[in-house]
């Protein structure tokens, strides 16, 4: 039994499910586009004291919206598990000798790969609406590794919530409870120095901040993300993936 083969088969299935719902896929592109253009128009006249006067808000915002796309997309990863649970298909897949960890890796891996592609598309849209980047290759690769780890972490949380709640309604609630505070206490939309002092600790340790700062530094200045930030994301992704895999293994029994 090869775990990679299982993960790959599950990934193919996950991608097929995504592409057979073109409207859902289209919305996941429309949403970041709306954010980018509307926030761009809204804030570009404000003095945001950005990194240096030469950087436009659109340039600042593009990596933030790219990371936001991964956050929003990953937080919906669990929806397929809710659906699979309700159809009995999840229990059936878990009743096979294929390991739960390999099945989860295929599922979350497929979502993260798709979301990274979407993040690239969002950055391309950013260029179209006026963002200007000066990246370096190594920095950008490292930043994308960080983005992928962030996606794994939130994909895993989403799957855990799905496996605990088993209802589509609670997925909607989860997305709002987690995504909005995550987004507005991060540096995705505005620099940390724009926020009150009491919030600084939250902002600095928000995983979205770690991800966005790495991506923004790599794209705008070619700076390599801080190793501490990448290590923190590795730890977060590892722990949350492990938790989701444990819940998935358990779901075979509680599902009956």
């Amino acid at each position: 039994m090869s775990a990679q083969r299982v993960a790959w088969a599950i990934a193919l299935r996950t991608w097929r499910n995504t592409f057979r719902r073109p409207v859902v896929l289209a919305f996941s592109f429309v949403q970041p586009l709306i954010w980018m253009t509307f926030f761009g128009f809204l804030f570009q006249r404000y003095p945001l004291e950005l990194f240096d006067p030469g950087i436009s808000y659109t340039t600042f915002l593009a990596p933030g919206v790219a990371a936001m796309t991964v956050l929003f997309g990953a937080s919906q990863a669990g929806i397929l598990y809710v659906r699979d649970y309700q159809s009995g298909f999840l229990t059936r897949m878990l009743g096979t000798p294929a390991g739960a960890g390999a099945q989860l890796a295929g599922k979350v891996g497929a979502d993260v790969v798709r979301l990274l592609v979407q993040a690239v598309v969002v950055l391309g849209l950013g260029l179209v609406v006026g963002a200007r980047f000066a990246p370096s290759a190594f920095a950008l690769v490292t930043a994308f590794v960080g983005l992928a780890l962030f996606g794994v972490a939130f994909g895993a949380i989403s799957c855990s919530v799905a496996l605990l709640a088993k209802a589509p309604e609670s997925m909607g609630t989860f997305v709002h409870i987690v995504n909005m505070p995550m987004l507005f206490t991060s540096t995705a939309l505005v620099p940390a120095r724009q926020m009150p002092d009491w919030l600084q600790g939250v902002v600095a340790n928000n995983p979205l901040t770690l991800t966005v700062n790495g991506l923004r530094g790599a794209l705008l200045f070619g700076t390599v993300p801080r190793p501490e930030a990448v290590i923190a994301l590795v730890g977060l992704a590892g722990i949350l993936f492990w938790l989701a895999a444990a819940l998935l293994r358990r779901a075979e029994r509680t599902a009956a």
């Binding site: 159809s87 029994r253 599902a255």
Partner: protein, 270 residues
């Protein structure tokens, strides 16, 4: 209760053994109480009885989907409720639930090949096996269509076909013939017969008493969470002085079953 004595004599250890098994649902309803049962290897065992009597619970316990509240279960020498044993049993037990468990957005062919991978069928054999199953279950013209477009009977066929992806030692089939036409029911019973021929054991819950009477080595009548009768069909007919299993069923449950036409006879209109 003892093992059905007329089942094929086997020197191998039994396929499954239940001792004092009781299953109580959260909330206190007893699904099964004090079940003692031995299922011999290389046999086909039919579970019959009214709805809510405990047939599905018995199969779920054997499959390890449910844990018994009290008592012990051994399937192929393993305890299905133990985590380590389950790893081995997932390889060897094919459990097909009564509810059809498929993904409507996948095609039939995709579903089969996914489960071939999940069961560790090597790539080269997988293609051949999936083609054979498509043929066996009459899914040839429908394999590349999404399952959501299938009729109920076709869904049932695909649901069952997945149970043939590998050769399991034990098949647990929960009302497999529901919604199938005569040809489909015949595929089920032929499959089960071949499975027994290969040394496998099958436990099948069914309301198709005519088929159960002709195809099963032993029939277990489950009513109100208890085994009220157990034996080879011929033994049961003799014991209750009945002409067929339907009559036995009526005596034991107090109401007659509505027996569908047996799968190996041509449909007759009255």
């Amino acid at each position: 209760m003892s093992a059905p004595s007329s089942a094929p004599v086997s020197s191998r250890r039994p396929a499954a053994e239940l001792r004092g098994v009781t299953r109580i649902w959260p909330g206190g309803v007893t699904a099964l109480s004090e079940i003692d049962l031995t299922l011999p290897a290389a046999s086909v065992v039919g579970l019959v009885g009214p709805n809510g009597g405990g047939k599905s619970t018995l199969l779920a316990l054997l499959a390890g989907r449910l844990a018994p509240t009290t008592g012990s279960i051994r399937v192929l020498g393993h305890d299905p409720s133990r985590r380590r044993d389950r790893r081995e049993l997932r390889r060897r037990i094919g459990y097909l639930t009564q509810d059809i468990a498929l993904d409507n957005e996948m095609t039939g062919a995709e579903t089969l090949s996914l489960f071939a991978v999940l069961h560790g069928v090597p790539q080269r054999q997988s293609r051949i096996r999936c083609d054979e199953l498509t043929e066996q279950w009459g899914l040839g013209n429908h394999a590349d269509r999404q399952v959501g477009t299938y009729s109920g009977g076709l869904k049932r066929r695909l649901h069952l076909a997945l149970g043939g992806v590998v050769a399991f030692d034990v098949l647990l089939l929960d009302e497999p013939t529901t919604g199938l036409d005569a040809a489909g029911r015949e595929v089920v019973w032929r499959w089960v017969d071949a499975h027994r021929g290969g040394g496998g054991t099958a436990v099948i819950s069914t309301h198709d008493l005519a088929a159960a009477g002709s195809q099963c080595d032993a029939v277990i009548v489950v009513v109100g969470g208890r085994i009220v009768a157990l034996g080879a069909p011929a033994q049961l007919l003799e014991k209750y002085g009945a002409a067929d299993l339907a009559e036995v069923y009526t005596v034991l449950t107090g109401s007659p079953p509505d027996a569908p036409a047996p799968p190996n006879e041509k449909r007759r209109r009255r």
